[in-house]
Symmetry: C2
Subunit: 250 residues, 2 copies
C-alpha cells in the first residue's frame, strides 16, 4: 500500500467543545473523504484541547510523520482561539499582525470596527501563506506542511477547496463496496481473511452496522491498482455466492 | 480546572474506515458527552488505522497520560479486527482464547458454528475483565485502565453503560450556554476575554455556527463550581445586554 505515489496526511481537530461532546466533530470524516478522493491518504487523526502546549506537541508529532497536517478550529477572534500562536511556537517562528490580513478584513469592516479581538484573527506566523476564506474573510494559513483551517464546517470546507490546490497528490484509491447483507461476519471471516492474504496489495475491511435489531454487513476493498481491486472483489463475491447457495442457514 | 476530584480519559477510535471517510465517527462525541456527565473529563481523542504498531503506540501513549482510555472498534471476527492482540502487546501480556467468552458465545451459537473467525472474538488478553455485550454476546474487555469496546455505535453504547460502573468519577461540570445570536464574536471578543481572565476557575468558549449565510454564536461556560459558573454566566449576559442596547449596529 506504499510507494512513491503515496501522499499521507493527518487531521488535527482543535477545541474543548469537541472533547466535551458539546459539538460533534464533522471535520475528520469530511477531510478524510475529500483528501482520499484526490489521492492523499489520511493516516491518523487527533482531537486536542484549547491548551497551547497540547497543540504544539500534536502539531510537531504529526508534521514530522506525515506529508501534510490539516488543523481545524481555534482561529477566531475570542480568547480561546489560540491555534495560530500554538502553530507559530511549534515551528519556532515569530507571530504578529499580518498587514495582508488587515487589508482583507477592511473589505468587511470599517477601520473603527477592527477591535483588538478581530485583530487577533490577523495574527499569522512569519513566513506563512494565507488560505482564502470566501465566507467571512479572516483567512487560514499554510506554514511548511501544516494547513490551518477554521473549525466551522462550512468555512473549513471552503478553505480546504483552496488549500488542496497547493498539495502534492498521489495515486487515488479504487474502492469497491460489496453488500454482504445478512451473511454474518462470523460465517465469512475465515474465507475473507484468506482472500485478504492472497491480495496483499489491497486492504479489505468488513463493516457491520446495526439497525432494527439486525446486523447488516458490507465488505470494502481498497487499493491503488484497479485490476487487483477488481480481482479481490470478484473473489469476495464468489465467496458470498457460495455461502448463500450452500443450503446452510446464514 | 484541576484538583483531586478530576478524573481524565482519552478516546481511541480504531479503524481504517474512519480514516478513509467511509464511516463517519460518532463514538468520540457520544463518549465525550457521556463521560462528561458522570464527571470523567475527556482530554484527548485519536483515530488510529488497523495497523498493530500504531494501535500499540497510541494505547501506550494514552494510558500513561490519562486515568482511563476507551477504545472503539476492531474486536469483531474478521482479519482486520486486531485490537485485542494490539492491546495485549501494548500491555506485554499473553493473549489466547478465553473460556469465559466461548461459554458466552455458546449461548448464541452451536459449537459447530464456532468458526475460527468467531473464535477470534474470544481472544482476550490475560488478566482482562470482560465487558458485557447485551446485543451480540461477544464481549469487550478491560485491562488496567483501558476499556476495549466495539465500534458499532449501538454495541459500543451498551458496553459503555456497563464499563462506567467500574470507573472512578470526579466532580461533574456545571455547563451554562448563553445565546449570543447575531452579536458578532469580533464585537464581544475583548470583553469576553476579560471575563474569562476574571474567572480563572471556569473555561469559557465561544462557538459560531453558520446557517443560511449567517453566523449564530453561542458562549459556553463550564466549571466544577456552580456558583462560579453562575457568576461568569451573569457577567456574560450583562456584557451581551450592554452590546445589544448600546445603539451601535451589531
Amino acid at each position: 500500500m506504499s510507494g512513491p505515489a503515496t501522499v499521507t496526511a493527518a487531521v488535527l481537530v482543535i477545541g474543548d467543545e469537541i472533547l466535551s461532546g458539546r459539538t460533534k466533530d464533522r471535520n475528520i470524516g469530511y477531510i478524510a473523504e475529500y483528501l482520499g478522493k484526490i489521492g492523499v491518504d489520511v493516516r491518523e487523526a487527533r482531537v486536542a484541547p484549547d491548551v497551547e502546549e497540547e497543540i504544539v506537541a500534536a502539531v510537531n508529532a504529526l508534521r514530522a510523520r506525515y506529508d501534510y497536517v490539516i488543523t481545524t478550529g481555534g482561529i477566531g477572534p475570542t480568547h480561546d482561539d489560540i491555534t495560530a500562536d500554538a502553530v507559530a511556537r511549534a515551528f519556532g517562528v515569530p507571530i504578529g499582525e499580518d498587514p495582508r490580513v488587515i487589508a482583507l478584513m477592511m473589505e468587511r469592516y470599517l477601520l473603527a470596527d477592527l477591535t483588538p479581538a478581530r485583530r487577533r484573527m490577523a495574527r499569522i506566523p512569519a513566513g506563512a501563506e494565507l488560505i482564502d476564506n470566501p465566507i467571512s474573510k479572516a483567512p487560514g494559513f499554510r506554514i511548511g506542511n501544516v494547513f490551518v483551517l477554521a473549525g466551522v464546517p462550512q468555512v473549513m470546507q471552503a478553505m480546504l477547496d483552496f488549500a488542496v490546490k497547493s498539495m502534492r497528490t498521489g495515486a487515488t484509491m479504487a474502492v469497491e463496496t460489496i453488500e454482504a447483507g445478512a451473511v454474518p461476519e462470523g460465517r465469512y471471516g475465515d474465507a475473507l481473511g484468506a482472500i485478504a492474504k492472497a491480495h496483499p496489495a489491497v486492504s479489505i475491511g468488513s463493516y457491520p452496522s446495526f439497525k432494527d435489531g439486525k446486523f447488516n454487513n458490507q465488505i470494502v476493498v481498497r487499493g491503488k491498482d484497479e485490476a487487483v481491486v477488481a480481482s479481490a472483489r470478484q473473489a469476495v463475491e464468489a465467496m458470498l455466492a457460495a455461502m448463500r447457495g450452500d443450503g446452510k442457514p446464514l
